[in-house]
């Protein structure tokens, strides 16, 4: 089982770079899960400016995912 623990897909390799990447991914995920609700409310209220703001946030998150991997 040692091999499993060392190479497990969810294993922590402890490097700082991966820690930063994990924090970044968590932030992007949180935004992608929350912002669409704001977008929906803005669309429903007919507030186009706010809708553009929320959609831009989603776009930035997607761009960051492509850029950072």
């Amino acid at each position: 089982m040692k091999a499993v623990e060392q190479n497990h897909p969810t294993a922590n390799n402890g490097s700082q770079g991966n820690g930063r990447r994990a924090r970044f991914q968590r932030l992007v995920l949180a935004l992608l899960l929350i912002v669409p609700f704001g977008l929906y409310l803005a669309l429903d209220a007919g507030n186009d400016l706010l809708a553009i703001f929320f959609f831009s946030l989603i776009t930035i998150c997607m761009a960051l995912m492509v850029w950072k991997g």
Binding site: M1, A3, V4, N7, H8, P9, T10, N12, A22, Q25, R26, V28, L29, L32, L33, P36, F37, L39, Y40, L43, A51, F55, I58, M62, A63, M65, V66, G69
Partner: protein, 540 residues
Amino acid sequence: MPRNTGVAASIIGRMQLTLLNWLLALLPVLVILVLMLVFNWGGSRAGAASWFIAILIANQVFAADARLIAYSQAKAIILSLNVLYVIWMALLLYHIADEAGAVKMIGESLPRLTSDRTMQALLLGWVFISFLQGLGGLGVPVAVTAPLLVGLGFSPVQSVIIASLGHAWAVNFGSMATAFLTLLAVTNLPAELLAPPAAVLLGSAAVICGVVVAYLAGGWKGLWRNLPATVLLGSVMGGVQYLLVVQGVWTLGTTGAAMAGLLVGIGWAHIQRARSPQPAPPPATKAIANLPADGQRRSLPLSFSAYAVLVVLAFALNLIHPIKTVLDRVQLRLTFPELQTGMGYVNSAESSRQISVFGHPGAILLYASLIAFAVYSLAGYYRPGAAKRILERVGRGAVTSSLGVVAMVGMAVVMSQSGMTSLVAEGVSRSFGERMFPLVSPFIGVLGAFITGSNSNSNVLFAVLQMRTAELLGLSVPLILAAQTAGGSLGSIIAPAKVIVGCSTVGLEGKEDQVIGKLLIYGMIPVVFVAIMMLFLRGT
């Protein structure tokens, strides 16, 4: 069903079905294919890139305005949350059991029941791994089981192939039926309609997976010797899965089936041992396996208790209506107006799929997780700091896959809402026709899973396309969708991402080509079987 040519016009509006338009509509999917297979990008990164392509094409070629695209993202998040709720909680339950040493205990106990290597491979690499898949996927079942098979004397390549093939049938209703839940979410069709044909196809494929595992482990002799056990276990697992999904407990389709398989398998091994003189394996089933690092003994029944709790809760909360009614009181649901593209493709006003905050399959997993944690804590199975370690592992495992789901669902909903999926379906239906399409349908599911590494993502990419094609050709929609998700389930094992995880646990890093080549051959056997079944079933 008669062929309804009128449907075509209403589905694709004023969009022209030309080769260029068809290729442009398919481009986001092709981009994912190239980025993942050629450039080795992960699902989340490739999904995000194709999200941009989908939006660009939807707006510039298919005249989807900003309002339609924006609403599509709100729709996508509800679909994503439906799936993510289950993924997160399934991971939580798995790590609660794993941290307690329960998964290791179960895995090490099974091979001690028999000295027949083929039967050991069947119990571990077919039944037990399916049980693990029932609880949570993401490559974990292969990562846990392949090293155990190596420990029994199988070669690393053999071990990864056996473990991969053994659980291929179990992916769709596994991970608390995440892939099936995705199918329901993207097609907006009821589970009662889609679950039975999917269970028939995958239950039959279970037997074939077992036969191939027996052959890989013991050659023709091993297969012949264990054929009765293989057919019996496969029939039990396929049958129990069918009964569970027909009763509406589809979240436990794989888990319940594999638990029944484990019980029958253990019983069969005991009977065989009593009948024929074999070298007596060390007694492990009654109570005690190897002592783990903390020196604390684990009992097999207590190790299973987390899953027993889950089964009881799932049945109780699904079948006792007063409890279900109370839990279903808090619902998350959005309503959407009618939206139309500049080319006349219409999305009717609709409510999103509702998320029952306390009655969702994810919530049931959460209740089972909390009870299991309390049971293992009382039994003294945890070292200090266990809760923190469990939550950290869940977080690490969930984030990347969640990003992939959100990006790909976002892309797929844009494609669907702008009419791109319908145009692709129109092209496919005209190319293959109603006679050939049922044969091709499972392979489309395989392609999706191969590209994305996931049955769920295959369903996100292709389920609506398959549904529209079936409608256009006058074929049974539930049957074609069953073939889609069955293909996705069986095809997910050959996805490079999953093979890499399996290989990394048995010292085959960098030698994945040895495994993929053989998996492409053996993994196609159950898919071809499903395709042949489709030829017979299409007329029913």
